[in-house]
Assembly symmetry: C2
Homo-oligomer: 134 residues x 2
DNA sequence: GTAGAACTTGACGTTGACGTCAGAGGCAAA
DNA sequence: TTTGCCTCTGACGTCAACGTCAAGTTCTAC
């Protein structure tokens, strides 16, 4: 398929697809006239790329990971980087969860004013064990 | 406390603190000579701000939410925006989880080559119900 | 064969959360 | 009073993932 179809099927802009190619994370065949052609699998590939971006990975990191993903193998140094990113994602997910809980609490408080059944605070720490209010 | 102490205690740069003030999400008292002074509570406030940033909220959004957080109340329109952000965070967390699982799978495959006990694929969709390989 | 949609490369613009540098002033200790 | 660190206000720099023109080429449908 050509770039326009891939863009609409993967729900990204054509600009993004060309950018991915620039960054070396998406390849394409070229017709004699220079137009890009993609196989069906490119749709999933683009979605994977989008997901990695959403997980906070940058183009360089993605570019270094994709070959391993395709080959399903990686050297020990690469594995360490994978583990590091995985840890970052885990931490990031925990932060998201907590921010989400705080918003939930606020929504609860704001949507049902007067009902004081939630004694938790909205601010304060997240990993603080220091409890000494007096 | 002055800006330097707050910065080190909240683990952000002084530049960030001044930026927060510019954006109207962190206030300070001023000494006659113009230096900023913060109460103890500013540390938690800054951490809350950091957490909201980490959750993908921008300065404007945070600026609009903080008064509600302080007052523990919000109008119906604001509650809608809170719910919307909460939904965004939930979706974002799900994406993170899935990206994390994919990395886990790759790490597993790469760290223990030859052991083919995980038949799942690394690419492919996340919410696709279309199953028609023929 | 021709209009018009889709494609090409190239290059500058955008946005957000700061980093960084410059020049000037403030403050506590010696 | 001088030393040295802290703070102040601008103001420009940065980086990433694209957006957005511009000007030209190619494909498709009639």
């Amino acid at each position: 398929m050509r770039i326009g179809e891939l863009a609409s099927r993967a729900k990204v802009s054509t600009r993004a697809l060309r950018y991915y190619e620039e960054q070396g994370i998406l390849s394409s065949e070229r017709t004699p006239s220079g137009q890009r052609h993609y196989p069906e699998s490119a749709v999933d590939r683009v979605r994977l790329i989008q997901q990695l971006y959403a997980a906070g990975l940058g183009s360089r990191m993605i570019a270094s990971f994709l070959p391993c993903i395709d080959a399903k193998q990686a050297g020990p140094e690469m594995i360490e980087r994978l583990r590091a990113e995985r840890a970052r994602i885990t931490a990031s997910a925990a932060e998201l969860e907590e921010a989400g809980r705080k918003l939930d609490l606020l929504i609860e408080l704001a949507a049902h004013p007067g009902k004081r059944h939630c004694p938790a605070s909205l601010d304060a720490q997240s990993a603080g064990g220091d409890v000494a209010p007096a």
